[in-house]
Structure formats: structure tokens, C-alpha cells
Subunit: 202 residues, 2 copies
DNA sequence: GTTCGTGGTAATTGAATGATTACAAACCGA
DNA sequence: TCGGTTTGTAATCATTCAATTACCACGAAC
């Protein structure tokens, strides 16, 4: 990504680098489909260091889930705190929060590990963690945003569709497939370009 | 599941048994998280036989994706062919098709491999296959059901939420968690019991 | 009754992978 | 400058897994 050559870096900072790299790789390839070595290479360090920093692959992934959830909750709460929110009815609020979510999706691969985690219900430790996170988001939308259960459901549904389009890498078909273009335009709306060209960074 | 002890069974029939077992295991654990031996044990045969029957794990999974897609498309087309459909407006039609989808989800683990496939956009062969299937469903809903792109989007979004709740195994929290109960009731509606107790079969 | 196609498994293999160990080099306070 | 702590790696280990090979059993046709 952005690293220079080998330098000694404080553990806390290195930890963040690893988490960033892991978010990208896990978000793309899923939990079981990702090796700790792929994470290490993406972070520019050796594989044993990744394992030693987090204890295990599983703990690293759980850390990612927590991080993604916190990012999302912070983002939603920040959006809810904006003054113009008070004037919105439920339908408008849902759209408003939807745009906040797309922003977060467009900013990087922070939320994709969350989507990957939602497929791990069978796992005794990650599954429990992922369900808890999902329900936490649900309660935030219901209790803090004041949405009805049906509105929360629709919001979450839209989010799941966006997640699916991202993990499917549907954006790669934007230029070559008419149907994909129509679907993407319809799903991401005016924020589409946030998600189409994430190739220039830092 | 249902097999007696070792019997010689015609290949075509055995093939279906393997596909059924694979749908369940892959649907639960994902592509990378599933071993061919797990499929074999679920089907009551040896691991090499699974591999030889389909050539490779990858080909088996693609076969599953195709099968799931065909089941879904058939189900949707059958629903669309019913006479009462003509009297429905777009919103009612969307609900009607939604119930048909829930029925399919409730009947077994046919569609869960599809959901797992949607996470494999990074894979050069499965990813292409999964995207194509997704767009095929999109076109069916748009062209054959006559829904607008926005309506198709909302339908797909709802389906993705149901998929997520299933792969998260959220139904396991129905009895113990109030929030989960509310969310599940809201997402599955009157069809909820189809998905709650899938423990008695055949 | 032997041969041949079909349905199946046991044994093995080679590669991949998460984790551990042992060690080295850089930094830092005394 | 010396001793210890922190940052990091190379080498290796034990497993796991998809795939291959080599084989076996049953039945039908001749």
C-alpha cells in the first residue's frame, strides 16, 4: 500500500496497519478463504508477526468485526447528531442514513469484513459475535434513530444488498455490462462514483 | 440424513444425494470453509467419490450455484404464471414474489449456497459465475415480472436480508433474544415458522 | 464362469497453512 | 557501554485438505 522499506514501527501503529490490510484481504476473500500470510504480505511484514500480534487468526478477525461495527455505529450516530436530521420524517431519515452508509462503504474496505462475518453463523465464536453485532446495529437504528421495525428492516435490507454487490465485485462489470450498470446505478444512486473508482488513495 | 447402510446406487441418483448434502454443508460453512470430506460424510459416502463424481470441489460448487439459480428462477416463474398475479399492482407483486422466495428458503438449504456464492466475487471462476447468476435474476424480475429497477432493487435487498439472517443463523436466537425475535418476525412475516423449525423432515 | 462396466473405498500424496520456537537486530535508560 | 525490552524474521512443525492411485465388489451379458 504505502510503506517504505523495513523500519521499526511501534506496535500500536503496526497493529493498525495490520488491521487495515486484514480488512481489505478478509473483506475480499472471506474468513476461511484468507491466509494469515496474505494478510502479512498485504501489511508488508512476516506471517508470524501477524499471528503473534493478535494471538490467532480468529482473534484478528474478531478484532476486525469489532472495529467495523464501531466505525459503522460511530458513523450512524454522527449522522444522527446533525441538526438537519430533526426536520426529516422516517422515510427521509432512512434515505439520509443510507447515504451515510454508502459513504462508509466508499471510503475503503472497513465494512466488508462485517459482511463476511455475517456468513459465519455456524462458527461457535465468530458466529455469536457477528449476531450480537448485527442486533446491536438493529437496536441503534430502532432506538436511537427512532425508526420502526419495518423501517429498520428495509434499511438493513438495502445495506445487505450493497454489501452483496461489493463482495460480488459487481462494480467491475460497470463498463462492460448494461444490466450491471443499471443495477449499480439504482442501488448506489448519486454516490455511485464513490464505489466505482477506489484506485487512487493516500 | 436418510440413507440406509451401504448400497449400490445408480450414479445419477447418488449425484443428487451429493448435491443435496453439499447444498446443506456449503450453505452453512461457505465455499472455503467446507471440505470435500464434510460433504462426503453428509452424503454418507467416501471423500474420493465426491471428488471423482464432480471433478473438483470448484466444479461441485458451481453445479450447486447453477442448481440454486434454476430452482429460484423456476419458482419465480411458476409464481408469476398463477392467474391471480394479473390483478396485482407492482407493490403487491413484489410482496407476492417475496413470499414465494421465503417458501423456497424454508424448504431447505437450496438457496444458501447462492448466498455463499455472492461472497466470492474475488474468485476468477466462481465469481464470474455468481455475478452472472445475480444479473440473470435481476433481468427475470425486471423483464418477466415487469418490475421497475427500483422495485427489483428493493426485492433483491429484501432477499439479501433474509439470506443474511439465515447464514447468520439468527433463527437460533428466536427463543432467547427479544431483539432477534422482533427482527425475525418483521423480516419473515407470517412465514416465520417455515424457517424456525426445519428439524423434522423426510 | 469369466469378463467387463459400474459403483465404490482405502491408502497415500503433495501442497498449503496456522502456529511455535529460536534467534537477531534495533532502540533505550542507566 | 551495557543490559534489557521491543520489534521483527527465518526455520520448522503438525495438521489439514483436495486430489490421485490402486484397488475391490457386484452384476449383467455372453
Amino acid at each position: 500500500m504505502s510503506e517504505a522499506k523495513s523500519e521499526r514501527i511501534p506496535a500500536a501503529e503496526r497493529r493498525e496497519q495490520i488491521l487495515d490490510a486484514a480488512a481489505k484481504v478478509f473483506g475480499e476473500r472471506g474468513y476461511a478463504g484468507t491466509t494469515t500470510d496474505q494478510v502479512a504480505q498485504a501489511a508488508g511484514i512476516s506471517q508470524p508477526y501477524v499471528v503473534r500480534m493478535f494471538g490467532s487468526k480468529e482473534k484478528l478477525f474478531c478484532e476486525l468485526l469489532l472495529r467495523a461495527r464501531e466505525s459503522l455505529e460511530t458513523r450512524l450516530r454522527t449522522a444522527l447528531a446533525r441538526p438537519e436530521v430533526k426536520a426529516l420524517d422516517a422515510k427521509e431519515l432512512k434515505k439520509f442514513l443510507g447515504r451515510a452508509y454508502v459513504d462508509l462503504v466508499g471510503e475503503g474496505d472497513i465494512v466488508l469484513p462485517l459482511a463476511q462475518g455475517f456468513l459465519l453463523g455456524h462458527d461457535p465464536v465468530i458466529g455469536r459475535y457477528a449476531r450480537e453485532g448485527f442486533l446491536d446495529i438493529y437496536r441503534l437504528l430502532r432506538d436511537e434513530a427512532g425508526l420502526s421495525p419495518e423501517e429498520v428492516r428495509d434499511f438493513l435490507a438495502g445495506g445487505m444488498l450493497l454489501n452483496t454487490l461489493m463482495t460480488l465485485q459487481m462494480t467491475g462489470l460497470y463498463d462492460s455490462d448494461d444490466t450491471a450498470r443499471e443495477l449499480l446505478g439504482c442501488a448506489f444512486g448519486e454516490k455511485l462514483d464513490l464505489v466505482l473508482k477506489p484506485k487512487a488513495a493516500s
